[in-house]
Amino acid sequence: MPRPGLVLDVDRSTPPILFHHGENFRLERLPVGRSRVIYPAEPIEGIEDVDGAIEHALDHPLGESAPLRDLLTPGMKLTIAFDDISLPLPPMRRPDLRQRVIEAVLDRAAQAGVDDVHLIAALALHRRMTEDELRHAVGDRVYDAFAPQGALYNHDAEDPDNLAYLGTTDKGEEIEINKRAAESDLIVYVNINLVAMDGGWKSTATGLASYRSLRHHHNVRTMQHSRSFMDRHSSELHHSNWRMGKVLTDAGVKVFQIETTLNNDTFGDSGPLSTLQKREWEWNAKDRATFLGMKAGLDRMPTKAARKIFQSWRAPYGLTSVQAGEVEAVHEVTTANVYEQQLVRVEGQTDILTFGLPYICPYNVNSIMNPILVMCLGLGYFFNLYKGRPLVREGGVLILSHPTPWEFHPVHHPSYIDFFEQVLSETTDPIEIEQRYEKDFAEDEWYRHLYRTSNAYHGVHPFYMWYWGAHALQHLGQVIIVGGDTRAVRRLGFKPASTLQDALEMASDTVGPEPTITHVKNPPILMADVT
């Protein structure tokens, strides 16, 4: 029986705590008597018969939906959309769940005589997936059967000939999505729900949308009113997507949603990385030796080599649930299953919140975690992994540990470079950034060209990264990054510190002496239910 998540009060016997630090780690001692560490639950047992579970979900849909086989008819137009490279994190071992689900859907389509099938990576304004990445997601068999015919491809949010405008919500939000998907008799959406933010109407209304549509919820106001965006019912981001879902339904777009949840078996139970999944006081001699050896090696290794090693890691996740059918009914169950694995009950807020940021976030798979992504991961994703209220009190301090290199992937993140150089050098205020700069970047022909023909994130994407942290920026009194490139950290508007002890001292200017400290041990992913 896996053990649930845990809140550990730090006392004299507590060993140093492992902090993720990009492509490396730090061992940190937290002040005794006023610090606590939140540990994730152990991985829930994965489903053994994955294919059987998928078959069952397709045949026993939730909500007002017929089984998939009853929705498939000869001559129909079928579009299978699937989550892109940003999910899951790290990528999973082969076979990817998307492959297994898509193969099951295609089997049924073939049995039903459906031969007009397109597969679309629902990447919104993310970078196009490479052939290798698509093969990893859907498998070689599916790729070879569809890609050469032009029936498996990346969504293009800037292709005016292949977008369909479907109307507006009652709040004036425009809905424009992939034309092929909109004009299909059925969209089957294949999701991997890593965190509670994913899935639901966000899959179609965001994943297949254009900038014209996305700008209505990917903006500062929405993010500042999403408390948090990991809690759908308190998230304006999700309210907007749900409103758009209604417009899609009213416009006759039929979606058969397939959502999957994973356990948090990120680093496995063998090999050097398995130590990262253990609680420090339970490390045995072998774990200690393994960790010290790994750390010594990483300390000496060039960042590029370390990055290559980490980026090649494929997680051995187990499938914990798969459900299919009507979007909202499916997503309710999915969210409950995500929470079952990730939610840890925490009493009360803290003065100082600390995160050790790992090497990966949704937007640097096979790439570089640039400073903007450090901000997004820390203040966007990790900060928002709460229900109820933020782990840190209003006016409190967030301390992140990450090398924060002044380094960008030139192919993946060209507009990030310009955003960092030209926008953040002027202001870090999300509202000012949105008002003064977003339009120019979003409509920049060069970024559009790179998004459509290369493997670049859309010109507006770095803005969304910054907006993702807008709620945290509004809430926090100070942000400090330990061990980061000082120039890059300052450009972000944060304060650099060499050590955690220095950071804690600097934080006392904001939160006073003897503050309470909470460290969240993530990954494996956890979400705090703060009472």
């Binding site: 470079i417 310009d418 150089e421 030209q422 120019d440 970047f441 920049d444 022909e445 060069w446 060209h449």
Partner: protein, 380 residues
């Protein structure tokens, strides 16, 4: 009198070149420059006056000469040994103060009728700089007969003297000559968007001289340069490595390879190096113009883009008399005397030149010699 003198000594010149390549400015220590007691220059004729420098600036062209990086182009138009220093404010015998206009035009050489350039008032285009009754020399400070500002005494012609009032400090006055260069460059600009490459003295002064209505994107390598460039009117100041991306964004350009498809209609290169000129070629718009204000030397450039995109490169040397009027106004209005960061005595000339050669990283702009306290000055 005391003077820092540059001699024609090939071995020393080679040593200065090597030293200057290793550490900028160290050509002063190992090259053909030395502090000497020499006779004051004779008055070359009518209209010439004794001129006792008060402050004399160190210019980029001086540094290039000292570190052996100047082009051999100059050999026929300088006369050795010479005393450098062409940014000079000094005293005349009647105790009035004047700023030197160092160009040695037809008027200074008693050439009558003057050449076409001088006749038109464009003394910077004088065709007789190696002729007449003076030794060759494009400016005072490069001519044996006139002496130069890095000394306690030199000579200056009527046409070279711009009298200044008591309201102009020596520090402000010594900035007038380089500001006149900048004013001359700014007068060539008729575009809404200009890129200025380099934020040394010349770059900063050019930014200051440009019309307020002109949008300026400037490069600056060091924090103090960035601060000053912004203060003097640049709308956007970026590090050199960021320029291509900034111009691309600003002009909505695309790229092929490292070349922008569009770009800025005018680029003012205040550095004049191979690197800066190459960058200028990358960011200038098709049909645009590169104005070379910083003194270049022998340079290797790929001019394919220049040909393909019909780009013009035009030199921009010195000034005419009217540029000095504008310069005085700029120096006064913008308090440009504050750009004089440090002054040195002649005895400390190697330190002074080392400081000037590393001004950017040391947060400095203009380094000058202060001759006001040189004892022998009063006896000349």
């Amino acid at each position: 009198m005391k003077a820092v003198q540059f001699s024609r000594k090939p071995a020393k010149y080679a040593a200065g070149l090597v030293a200057g390549s290793i550490r900028p400015g160290s050509g002063a220590k190992y090259g053909p420059l030395s502090l000497r007691d020499i006779d004051p220059p004779d008055l070359p004729g009518d209209g010439w006056h004794r001129f006792r420098p008060r402050l004399a600036g160190i210019c980029g062209s001086d540094l290039a000469t000292i570190d052996g990086k100047s082009s051999r182009y100059f050999e026929p138009i300088v006369a050795f040994p010479f005393v450098p220093g062409h940014e000079v404010v000094g005293d005349l015998d009647d105790r009035s103060r004047a700023v030197l206009i160092p160009v040695l035009s037809c008027a200074t050489r008693a050439i009558d009728p003057p050449c076409a350039g001088c006749a038109a008032g464009a003394i910077n285009r004088c065709e007789r700089i190696a002729f007449g009754h003076l030794e060759p020399g494009l400016q005072s400070g490069f001519c044996e007969d006139t002496g130069g500002g890095w000394s306690t005494g030199m000579v200056a012609h009527d046409s070279q003297l711009l009298t200044i009032g008591d309201d102009v400090s020596d520090e402000a006055a010594v900035m007038i000559e380089p500001t006149a260069c900048a004013a001359h460059a700014a007068a060539q600009v008729d575009e809404d968007l200009v890129v200025v490459i380099g934020a040394g003295t010349l770059g900063l002064l050019t930014i200051a001289a440009l019309d307020d209505a002109t949008e300026v994107i400037a490069t600056a390598r060091y924090p103090e340069q960035r601060r000053l460039a912004t203060e003097l009117g640049a709308g956007r100041v970026v590090e050199p490595g960021e320029l291509d991306r900034t111009v691309r964004s600003r002009t909505g350009s695309l790229r092929f390879g490292s070349q922008l498809t569009g770009g800025a209609p005018m680029v003012i290169d205040c550095v004049g190096s191979e690197e800066s000129l190459s960058q200028a070629l990358r960011v200038v718009a098709p049909g645009g113009e590169i104005l070379v204000v910083g003194m270049p030397a022998t340079t290797t450039l790929d001019l394919t883009g220049l040909w393909h995109r019909e780009v013009a490169i035009r030199g921009c040397y010195a000034y005419d008399r009217s540029d000095f009027d504008r310069a005085v106004q700029l120096v006064t209005d913008l308090d440009l005397g504050r750009l004089v960061t440090a002054t040195y005595s002649l005895a400390d000339y190697t330190d002074a030149i080392a400081h000037a050669a590393t001004a950017g990283p040391r947060g400095a702009v203009k380094i000058a010699f202060d001759l006001r306290t040189e004892k022998e000055r009063e006896h000349l």
